[in-house]
Symmetry: C2
Subunit: 198 residues, 2 copies
Amino acid sequence: MASPEIEALTQALSRLPGLGPRSARRAVLHLLKKRETALEPLLAALGAVSDKLSTCSICGNVDTSDPCGICADPRREGRALCVVEEVADLWALDRSRLFPGKFHVLGGRLSALDGVRPEDLAIDSLIRRIADGGIDEVVLAMNATLEGQTTAHYIAERLEQYPVRLTQLAHGLPVGGELDYLDEGTLAQALRARRPVA
Amino acid sequence: MASPEIEALTQALSRLPGLGPRSARRAVLHLLKKRETALEPLLAALGAVSDKLSTCSICGNVDTSDPCGICADPRREGRALCVVEEVADLWALDRSRLFPGKFHVLGGRLSALDGVRPEDLAIDSLIRRIADGGIDEVVLAMNATLEGQTTAHYIAERLEQYPVRLTQLAHGLPVGGELDYLDEGTLAQALRARRPVA
């Protein structure tokens, strides 16, 4: 039997998405056999992230600084704001390098089923950012799911009173698809073809 | 762009077997979002293993103690010794809980192609363990590959002069198969049907 420490490490790794018990065991063996080149670097990287990890008080992104790297980046176009459901969506759009503006993470989507109400999402903070002014366009980049679109419509209504151009991703995205899974080509198309909310 | 710390963590994770860049990114996001339940436990587990990690000076197993848990276990039958190529093989056999004895890890297999010679493997230390006496049976549990079997034959020759029963895993294992990938049923059959070296 493996020692308690090794068991605990296997457990912790097997809880990561994409790693089952067997692949976690293989990963642990890799770490044990490649101590200098695998275990120590991973330990150091985890430690560094753990030390600095914070949620951006402006946009809700998770990063190693607050404000996050995107909110703090002066080269970022501050007049355009892209609203996403999850941090994963922000990362997906950011990786595509197609949106020069800043982001706002809702932390989920409205859902009667899961009992997620507007006050459960970072919507009030979004309204405040827009009320503070300096923002011309708000891109509603929710997932093309029923709940995502419901959330988009709700936010569109809440923002009607503000002098901002409301846009949403063109439905080049496959219906039912989720941003984080899309190839960047599809993301590019959807972002380029974004259109005013009807 | 993600911060350098997060990039480094993604890099480190993507180098684990079974994790590519994309799955590593998803794993990192999971860690960032589940700090208390995922990141900290993994960090603690890695730290604990890193602090205690050692290679067993007796059998070559990697564990958090030296001698390893198996060599130090008094309930283990010391008169039977199972010789394996890699630590992964030792773990696979140990998981099957079918071998009550102790182990010896060679650290590889003889290979003209990869230039692995007898002196590159833990063969001399194996001979010493057997020369020291107290061992009745040596199970040669090499992989059913050409190189594995070559290694088994070489060790069999080296051990001819010693009064030990030499056995090898029955070839219930699929030819070309590797221990670490086998289901325990197959391992059980192969171990039960082990036979004297011809």
